[in-house]
Symmetry: C2
Subunit: 351 residues, 2 copies
DNA sequence: CTGAAAGCGCTTACAG
DNA sequence: CTGAAAGCGCTTACAG
């Protein structure tokens, strides 16, 4: 009972199991671990005794011997994290079945706090560390380069020579733009976030590449903030006054690929407010597939999903194999995004 | 280096420090822990040696002796959790300074998974457990009642006789409705979530109580889903046809208190679409203070904040004191909400 | 003032 | 086939 002040009964130890079964602790240990050689009856008797007493080995003692704590540290600065959360749950899922538990370390952007957490992890002899964050192009405020345990970076800026998993933003952007092309859209605009984000450039380049490949006009991407308000403003820029399509003169876009779902939401609302139909007049695709936003948008938003839970899984499994002594090549692994189709793009012309 | 296959150098042990300083491990231990009696020079020499070698005590060994692992388990089923996240970061912040690390256990609504995590926690000899979830009136899919370590419930249904922290939803609702009254609103409606949620009734009752106290007309709360779509629909019900105010006949509301921010967002959008101004014609208040929604709403949404980070802090500190052997009375502690005023309610009449 | 010994709970060679 | 011994890295009475 949580509120009961009575002294908690100590957990039963191997020594007690051994005594109760009339064997030595060594034999008891071997019986339970399937090690050594003994009669099947002895082994079964010991196992039965352990079961009866509710014996569970003290993981701290085991860790001390094995030099392996079956814990890992998960560092993140994405406190209110819509990015961290799926990633964390992916990591956790990948590890729980291996009996590995995850320490959650909220480091904010605070070097002192980050240092504190890293030291706590090291003191607790975690088997490895996963570093994650809220953007791919920023490093956590702490140096993880020369630890004596494996480190995996996921969705955050890695140290040189490290192993990192990130989403393939370029591929994700291609998915979106190619989807528009497949639907017969011809004048595709791109409204995205600030120039200070690496992904803004990466996605914009993919946008340009696809349009160039398809022989469609490329509009200069509109950079702004990651907000609905910017979505509204961008629609004003795109649909007021003369259009700015490089090849076709003054025609208005019939599709907008947005850098995130909030921008897309703003774009869709602004289009509706000026009497433009989505998807009939203009198709819209977002990025992040933030379910709660994408589904509330009218109509529900088609969006690029970065597969962050899968990314977390991969990071977790790779860390596990590193801890297990398997080698792994350093470098940045880009994991594919996927397009989640809802109703903001319409059907193919022949569909 | 994470990707380097060279054998990791073992961490330096107390034995090495002792050898290097020319003392016994016992003396070294005492020197570093400020225990025992020895000359100031000896102590300082040992400390200096430890510092020079980068000695950090193995927390696993210490835990084994002290019967205290300086870890706690945090169970949650709020995977994509906008509720869990601030709560978790509150817990983590409260504990990190005490050197206590937090195991993140994502149990979903899966009994097997929850059991697995609880056993892992017990095996790892966590000092205590914090159970949290996505709603106050649902129990996690696992029994935490008779563990031999303290358990604190936070924002989830507790076991009888346990210690729990929850938000004061009734008080939060009062805050909202009284704010409307203070601004001179007279016909205040309430649009909220499904009847299956306890908080729906608790908040609705507070809504009725305040209006009754103030002698204002009480409208029957409109129950629906926690979605923007329901916000739209509710506006239709409230503003189409004849009004349904019990005392004043057919007058339309001049204020809507919403059960969450998404409903509020839908209400505000719907009002604007029918040409009603917020806050001039109708004031709107939400619940949850989900920043990203509240700030994107036009105008930005006044909302009730459940202070979940503070709730997490309290839960963490209380667990700490329980672990430290302080007694604490069982029962449910309701922590106050706060009203975050933005622009959806207007200024007071004389403001 | 300092060190040898015992021990936390377990595992793993090594004897018998 | 089973057990005594040593040891993981540390701390804490207890001697000296």
């Amino acid at each position: 009972m949580s509120s009961d002040a009575s002294p908690a009964p100590a957990p039963v130890t191997l020594r007690e199991v051994a005594a109760s079964a009339g064997v030595s602790v060594a034999t008891a240990s071997k019986a339970l671990n399937g090690q050594g050689r003994m009669t099947a009856e002895t082994r079964e008797r010991i196992r039965e005794t352990a079961r009866r007493l509710g014996f569970r080995p003290n993981s701290l003692a085991q860790s001390l011997l094995r030099r392996r704590s079956f814990t890992v540290g998960l560092l993140t600065n994405d406190t209110y994290g819509r990015f961290s959360l799926p990633l964390m749950s992916g990591v956790s899922d990948a590890l729980v079945d291996a009996g590995v538990s995850v320490f959650l370390c909220n480091v904010e952007d605070d070097t002192r706090l980050a240092q504190l957490h890293v030291e706590a992890m090291l003191d607790k002899r975690v088997d490895g560390i996963i570093a994650t964050g809220k953007r791919i192009d920023r490093h956590l405020p702490v140096d993880l380069a020369n630890l004596r345990i494996p480190v995996i970076y996921a969705f955050t800026q890695p140290d040189p020579g490290a192993i990192a998993f990130v989403s393939d933003d370029s591929g994700g952007a291609r998915l979106a733009v190619e989807h528009f092309c497949r639907l017969g859209r011809k004048r595709i605009a791109h409204v995205t976030g600030p120039a200070s984000f690496a992904v803004v450039h990466e996605r914009a380049q993919a946008y340009r590449d696809v349009l160039t490949e398809k022989g469609l006009p490329v509009m200069e991407p509109l950079l702004g903030s990651w907000s609905e308000a910017w979505g509204h403003e961008a629609v004003k820029k795109l649909f007021d006054g003369q259009g700015k399509l490089s090849k076709t003169g003054s025609e208005k876009p019939d599709a907008v690929f947005c850098g995130n779902d909030q921008i897309a939401r703003g774009v869709i609302d602004a289009l509706r407010e000026r009497g433009l139909g989505v998807p009939d007049d203009v198709g819209v695709i977002g990025f992040d597939n933030w379910q709660i936003v994408a589904e509330a948008t009218r109509p529900p938003l088609t969006s690029v999903d970065m597969n962050l839970a899968a990314l977390g899984r991969e990071a977790g499994l790779t860390l596990l194999s590193l801890v297990g002594g398997q080698p792994a090549a350093p470098g940045i692994r880009k994991l594919p995004c996927r397009l989640v189709v809802r109703q903001s793009c319409g059907r193919p012309p022949d569909g």
